[in-house]
Symmetry: C2
Subunit: 459 residues, 2 copies
């Protein structure tokens, strides 16, 4: 077997112990909040039948799905002409029947349809698993990354939407974020606007354009709207809506005026108002002024939202959205189960990680694991320390004995590298007196304590 | 987009909320123990460069690796002749450069070599991630399953071996298992036996054969040994060793007699004795008679072990091994880093799951999540309960309000299906008196309590 210099596959990452501790800190915080709101975890397989995934993400998306080569003599049934023509695309279904998960949404829809008769509706689930995309890797964009989705299907109640706002607020606050905005819009408002202008067929073009307001400004949006078939008069009607000002109540009042002729549009406003009423009844009215913002330019580029739309941004660091979601009324239609309403949001774990890192918000403990290292001087002290090692662990204290009598400097470096906060030094003197030297690595402070006192200190 | 009836890819599984709770219960128990012994978690990517994996698992293993088709026009650089000949095997490296992880060992070796300059040695890591194999699916064998490995590299001390025995004992005991056997052998003993017989070149044949003692009995083993080149006299020498009786001390004494002429063999015995001495010094001597067993037929079919070898079996349920491992001295040699010693064990999570299920050892709480469901009678009671909902959650109690005023029977079925232990009933009477009706779902018992008392009860 030839020796090869090992490397990572392009666009993938290893996670070191320190990184894993921090990632688990984020995931565990999110899970705690999800569970408090009655959401349960599920997992779906890493690969699905190719036919389950194909056609769900548009033509560009299909290209980014990682296909798995069939096992065995996979070419035996491949049509000769496709091989001769080197038709890469057309050959795929003949040599690949499985593909890696591209997101958590389609597998969730498949799960709900397959298990519909066992599920207690409304079905509230969260799912935290990696997904894979054959994107060109670049800074902050990986070919393997975790998605973190929380959805409820089978309940039209807007209490769910209100609770997602509370979930965002509680989770991000627990993680230490202090200044973030949860934007809310409603697809029906966008529909209403397109109706009022008299161009309902252009709603997708309209939303795609105004979704870019943040990036390209009003002028850029107007230019794109013209290109997409809107007139100068349309722009005049749109302008005050796009540039809405005031607090949420003022904005909703103005939108209602503009949408007076659109039943659908007014219903969208009413839905947002009901979400806000729920939040007020839940005793959380202060969120509505502090961190919730009506933003009718919000469309999230996605066509499947049918009601409320959410997006979350931190205001403490320059960073794209760290979460988003909305209500969809036909998630499972693609698998033949019609009219099942759902609403859900997701958390961008990688971005949240970067934000916490930049703001120094990871707790000290999120990088460390072992609590105390017992130094190893020689065979006789080793023998003396072994019962202590076991005793400490019985007390629930993560403890290591350095496994050989290496130079003390090396053992100290080991404790440093692993961020072990305490080192216990037991030499001849300590063995005789029974008082152990406990060194606090950060301060350098050293104390002589009985074994019982060491345990009390470390617990 | 055509509607398709969804199905799972062959050999894969969905995990429902109840299954996830149970799986997490196992993984969290193991993680707690690993951390107490100073092991830290790492994760490696789901796919590796194909060249990293190829040639590490033998010819049969290579066939079971799932290969990922290159993205884009993957056929453009494929040699015409291979396409024409339909040479499935030879074509692979031309159309696939990535493959799914087949185990956690090779990616760990790659990790250690790539990060060798950042790692504090000894490096103690655990890793709990799925692996994928293109095996023919059958009962209990899946194409995606979790492995759970814990290893230390860079330390020759036999304290590590002793600690793995403690880790097995503590983890399995915490999971509720009462009767299990941790078998131990040493590769050097096997080498010594082959030396004593005078056929050191046949050591692999010998170990492969005697490893099957459990399955095919002494006669079967003897037959296979003859086929593999051993003589009738050899069998005579082997017989007392294979059929060793007595306690561990007696067994080791007998082995030492047989191996008196083999330095290597005696060193293997000495290593086991040192592991046992460590366990005794750690204050755990009772394990050596209770659940540790010297078994020199243990070879685990693997060629890379160089020192101690472990295997764990439960005696409460008929089931193959639920764990195993050993010391290896050249794990990273395949990637050019020579002479790095390591030792590690793994836990068979799927089998442990089945054992706990069969013995009814999962704690009640491992299936439930939400603590209390607030029933929803109508809009006015809903309004009354909303502040309570928020208050309960602030107290850390996982709480749900049923999101619509459905029939009570439906709401009760929902609580049953989710195994929610309590339902809070708040109708007109409760709203007026302020005393809430708390129903315990298992007993059917119903109590009138103030909100504060409900919180105290549920916390």
């Amino acid at each position: 077997m030839a020796t090869i210099k090992p490397s990572l596959a392009k666009g993938t990452r290893d996670f070191s112990p320190a990184e894993m501790e921090k990632r688990n800190y984020i995931f565990n915080t999110l899970k705690t909040v999800f569970k408090k709101f009655g959401y349960n975890e599920i997992q779906t397989p890493s690969f699905e039948n190719l036919s389950t995934l194909t056609g769900k993400y548009g033509e560009e998306g299909d290209k980014l799905i990682f296909k798995i080569l069939n096992s065995g003599d996979y070419l035996s049934k491949a049509p000769e002409n496709l091989l001769q023509e080197k038709s890469s695309n057309k050959l795929i279904p003949h040599i690949s029947e499985k593909a890696l998960r591209y997101d958590l949404t389609v597998p969730f829809a498949r799960y709900v349809v397959m298990h519909q008769h066992e599920l207690a509706m409304p079905f509230k689930r969260f799912q935290i698993q990696p997904v894979w995309r054959a994107d060109r890797p670049q800074r902050g964009r990986y070919r393997e990354f975790y998605q973190c989705d929380v959805d409820v299907v089978g309940s039209p109640s807007l209490l769910n939407e209100a609770e997602f706002i509370l979930i965002y607020h509680e989770a991000l606050s627990l993680l230490g974020l202090r200044d973030f905005t949860i934007k809310i819009n409603n697809r029906k408002i966008l529909t209403g606007i397109a109706e009022v202008i008299g161009k309902p067929e252009l709603i997708v073009d309209m939303t795609v354009a105004i979704d870019k307001l943040d990036k390209i400004g009003l002028e850029g949006v107007n230019k794109e709207l013209i290109e997409r078939g809107f007139s100068a008069e349309d722009l005049e009607v749109l302008k005050p809506i796009i540039l809405l000002e005031g607090d949420n109540t003022e904005k909703l009042t103005q939108i209602k005026e503009v949408l007076a002729q659109s039943t659908t549009g007014l219903q969208g406003v009413a839905e947002i108002e009901e979400v806000f009423a729920y939040i007020t009844s839940l005793g959380c009215a202060e969120l509505l002024t502090k961190c919730v913002e009506v933003d009718i330019t919000l469309a999230r580029g996605l066509n499947y939202y049918t009601g409320c739309i959410f997006e979350v941004k931190t205001n403490e660091v320059a960073m794209g959205s760290i979460g988003g979601g909305g209500r969809y009324d036909d998630l499972t239609g693609m698998f033949g189960l019609k009219d099942l309403t759902g609403v859900g949001v997701s958390f961008g774990a990688d971005r949240i990680y970067d934000v916490l890192e930049e703001l120094g918000l990871f707790p000290q403990s999120a990088g460390a694991t072992t609590k105390v290292l017992i130094a190893n001087f020689d065979k006789s002290t080793e023998l003396f320390t072994l019962p202590l090692l076991q005793k400490f662990r019985q007390e629930g204290i993560a403890t290591e004995l350095y496994p050989t009598a290496a130079k003390l400097k090396k053992q100290m470096s080991y404790a440093d590298a692993k961020r072990i906060p305490y080192v216990l030094l037991i030499g001849e003197e300590e063995m005789q007196s029974g008082l152990l030297s406990l060194k606090h690595m950060e301060t350098g402070e050293q104390q002589k304590l009985s074994a019982e006192d060491v345990i009390a200190r470390l617990k």
